[in-house]
């Protein structure tokens, strides 16, 4: 069944696969094309069409021109917010997850299975169960409507994933390696630094890609705990469509959507293999 001859049945396979590929690519193509058409051109025809002339200024307007509420600074400040939330939260949750995963898998201590079990329940607990408590905690520590507050949330909640990823990776490391190092007098951190970390590149890449993608794309916490100029880009996109619903500017909006989606798309294209590994690791649990 797996021959390479071009029988009619194989032509059919290629035809079906190509049709599906076109369907998957179409929305992206539409937005890319629209981002290069003027608002007027789109208004006269439909969202689907070729640009008559390339309206690159949509990108300039989307980046730093159009207005959301009273501020006319484009999408740039919100992109910056997303960067300032996503990068620290990704780094913190990955480092803490790697150390905790290492402790749980290779050091073993009293109660480790229990606490690990509870932490991984965080993969399943709906965010809606945590919305009110987070509101109260953030208000009490003065971090409501701040980027720091979002970093805190994503670091703590991200741990459920990062600990799981790292622990499942580290359990495969032979215990003899650790035992030998301990007999030589190496401590917890020394073993982590000298032995574990050099072995960790693949799982750290998976974890970083997973965390970055999830935190960048997150919307609910962003829209609940921040307002106005403090919002991450996902929340700003919604605010933007609501703000200009009366006089749509689909060209500029399309450019804004492309800009907002670009970081995670680039990471996916560059690290696809690790992205998929994270997906399956997250699913199998």
């Amino acid at each position: 069944m797996r021959d390479r001859t071009f029988a009619p049945s194989r032509m059919l396979i290629y035809l079906v696969v190509s049709l599906f590929a076109a369907a998957y690519l179409a929305p992206l193509a539409v937005v890319v094309l629209n981002s290069l058409r003027t608002n007027e051109e789109i208004a006269q025809a439909s969202m689907i069409g070729w640009p008559k002339q390339l309206a690159w200024r949509n990108y300039a307007a989307a980046w730093s021109g159009f207005c959301v509420a009273e501020t006319c600074a484009g999408i740039r400040p919100y992109m910056l917010n997303s960067v300032l939330v996503t990068i620290p939260a990704t780094i913190f949750s990955t480092i803490l997850g790697a150390i905790a995963g290492y402790a749980v898998s290779l050091w073993r201590f009293r109660g480790d299975n229990w606490i690990y079990g509870i932490v991984t329940l965080g993969l399943f607990l709906p965010q809606q169960m945590r919305l009110l408590p987070w509101t109260i905690v953030l208000r009490d520590i003065g971090l409501i409507n701040t980027l720091t507050g979002l970093v805190l949330i994503h670091t703590i909640q991200g741990l459920s994933f990062t600990v799981l990823f790292c622990r499942n990776y580290y359990v495969a490391i032979p215990h003899e390696l650790i035992r030998a190092a301990r007999i030589d007098g190496a401590g917890f951190f020394r073993i982590f630094w000298r032995i574990i970390l050099p072995l960790s590149a693949p799982i750290l890449i998976v974890t970083v890609i997973w965390q970055f993608t999830h935190i960048w794309n997150e919307f609910l916490y962003g829209v609940t705990f921040t307002t106005g100029q403090q919002q991450p880009v996902t929340a700003a996109l919604i605010a933007l469509s609501a703000a200009i619903a009366d006089i749509p500017q689909h060209g500029v909006q399309s450019a804004a959507v492309i800009i907002a989606a670009l970081p995670t798309l680039l990471i996916y294209l560059l690290g696809g293999r690790y992205f998929v590994r994270g997906l399956t690791a997250g699913a199998v649990k």
Binding site: L96, E218, T234, Y268, T280
Partner: protein
């Protein structure tokens, strides 16, 4: 930790200094895990508690029994959301399973450009639901999207206005959700197809079985554990779906595409009904548990069986 035993001969001080020396170690191990575990447990318990209080704009103590739950369950908003969840959840899971399995089987035929195609089918997963919802809200908007295009091409009686049709609007969310995450099903199925023992396939071929027969009788039966995993993961997404709906229909037209997560948000942050919002959140959790507990039990049985074998 284990090596603390060696200092036990000298009571008192050395053990303490050993503790102090290893304090950074204990802190880095325990603190993140404890904070994470503590927030999960305490946040859940607190939300459950609030669901039994008369809290409205601010959390207050008090006890109203199940009154918040009966109020939520009796509300039209929740009833529509729950019906929508049943329809959306089953349609979305079924369609993405079928699409994912079909794509996986097609990609498994040693076709050229498999890597490019896989990249194409999976890229929607890298994009946020906000972006997906926004883009599909344009495509499905009858005034500017696909319907307008077809009209401009000359077929003016063509209708594709589900986005503004109360009865059909929920299907627009199904379309966008299947587009976004059927690649996930494909990736898992493809991995499953690739791990089928080549010898079994060869044996079936020698017995004279054709490709369709081999798929139906030999390969597909090995995929059912993966199928269950895919179903559970997709259901988990469906139950807590929020961003996609918010960007695509915002629950409308009217409240036709309301889903539980939107009801929770609405009660908590727009109507100032914290007690009822918490009750709706707990109901969401219960729906989720109705899916996850049987799954966990099944996993447990599977694991025990494979340990005995």
């Amino acid at each position: 930790m284990t090596s603390a035993v060696s200092t036990a001969t000298q009571p008192g001080r050395p053990a303490t200094s050993e503790m102090v020396r290893r304090l950074p170690e204990y802190l880095t191990i325990w603190l993140p895990l404890l904070v994470s575990a503590a927030h999960l447990v305490s946040f859940s318990l607190w939300t459950i508690w609030i669901s039994f209080t008369p809290s409205t704009l601010v959390p207050v103590s008090g006890w109203v029994g199940l009154r918040n739950y009966t109020a939520v369950l009796a509300s039209r908003n929740w009833q529509i959301a729950f019906d929508n969840l049943l329809l959306f959840g089953s349609a979305f899971v079924l369609l993405s399973l079928v699409t994912g399995l079909m794509l996986a089987i097609l990609l498994d035929q040693r076709i050229r450009g498999e890597n490019v195609l896989r990249t194409i089918f999976l890229y929607p997963l890298a994009v946020s639901f906000v972006v997906t919802g926004t883009v599909w809200s344009w495509l499905l908007n009858p005034g500017i999207g696909i319907q307008k295009l077809v009209h401009d091409l000359g077929w003016t009686s063509f209708r594709f206005d589900w986005l503004v049709d109360r009865d059909m609007a929920i299907w627009t969310i199904v379309i966008a959700a299947v587009w976004q995450s059927s690649g996930f099903a494909m990736a898992l199925f493809l991995a499953g197809l690739r791990s089928v023992d080549a010898d079994i396939i060869k044996a079936a071929q020698i017995d004279g079985a054709g490709p369709i027969r081999i798929y139906r009788r030999v390969i597909l039966p090995t995929l059912w554990p993966i199928t269950i995993t895919v179903v559970v993961v997709q259901l988990q997404f469906a139950i807590s779906a929020f961003d996609l709906v918010r960007a695509l229909t915002n629950g409308g037209p009217g409240i036709a595409t309301q889903l539980p997560a939107l009801v929770v948000y609405d009660l908590m942050f727009q109507r100032g009904q914290l007690g009822r919002g918490a009750a709706a959140a707990v109901l969401m959790l219960l729906i989720l548990l109705a899916v996850l507990l049987p799954y966990a039990a099944w996993r447990y049985v599977q694991r025990r069986r494979s340990n005995h074998a």
